[in-house]
Symmetry: C3
Subunit: 135 residues, 3 copies
């Protein structure tokens, strides 16, 4: 089974929790054991597995990436002025593969699935979830 999750983003940099949407697709698929491949379609966004107890770690991710990859100093900025967004996206990466265990994602208690926006706000972002059964 494969489905596209869509969302809109409201900031230039921000993490958006998409765990419940992925759980819901796994439930619908009825796959008991296998993998869920989560893929962000866009070269200025990414997928990160991260804690979701409160907003603090999400803020820290944005702070860290802004410090590591400042804006305005890249060759690509002469084109689009978003060189930093591409570099953040490439480093974090668009794909994560999560095990499916007994028709649930095999996340630990504190692991959630986040879409990372690095060049928002955007009206429509797409995440492809592909569910593959272990056979």
């Amino acid at each position: 089974m494969q489905k596209i999750i869509t969302l809109s983003t409201d900031r230039r940099n921000g993490l958006y929790d998409i765990t419940s949407e992925v759980v819901s697709l796994i439930k619908t698929s009825k796959v008991q054991t296998g993998i869920a491949s989560v893929y962000a379609r866009g070269s200025t966004c990414a997928i990160m597995i991260q804690e979701n107890w409160d907003q603090s770690v999400q803020n820290d991710v944005v702070t860290l990436l802004n410090k590591m990859i400042p804006s305005g100093i890249w060759e690509h900025d002469h084109q689009d002025n978003n060189g930093d967004a591409h570099l953040k996206a490439g480093l974090v990466g668009p794909s994560e593969t999560i095990p499916i265990i007994e028709n649930n994602p095999g996340l630990s208690t504190w692991q959630n699935i986040f879409f990372c926006e690095f060049d928002g706000p955007r009206q429509r972002r797409e995440i492809v979830v592909s569910i593959i059964a272990d056979n």
Copy 2:
């Protein structure tokens, strides 16, 4: 086939080679061609493919991440005092997908599979290995 590998860790930051456990699961599965998805369950740990000729690269990984992501300066530290561990885990990422070629992992000569601990020591860490046949 899916199996959970467990291990205990003895340092705050350290890499632990789990290649032989993954090889053994691939052998047991009898899958000739496909993929092995390796997933670290925990938001303060990760999976990295890295050289294992000696301890030097593993030490360098810890040194680099401590330099890039110092401890004690994050918003999340007010909560758990492990903001750096979450950031390291998110950046390295919990999942790697390795090809299976002729019932062996398709690693190169110097590639080994490491569990990365960023908030140890811990008595029990879990890694889920999902083996999917190409059909």
Copy 3:
């Protein structure tokens, strides 16, 4: 279906676009829906999804990684003098999993698949592409 793509590299650090080779393998497989797992065999190279409008982002990736991970200061340099190459490879990672949608890779308009060389030039580098159908 599984195939090994080979390429030679002409610089110490550089990104090489392998999208058309991956598209061609997906077409040959006739898989309509599923995933393509792309894996770089080597502990001094990696796979990155990145923009390919022109050379600028590729140059920026090399600039960023050289700044984050300078050469010549690592414990592993006493052995092979390529500690930086291993660290870059470990951080970017050798695997990306891309959805297959209607017998095409589910990349967005600006996403291309790049092999990242961090210790070239090399006569022969190998990338394993494993195509798994959703069934």
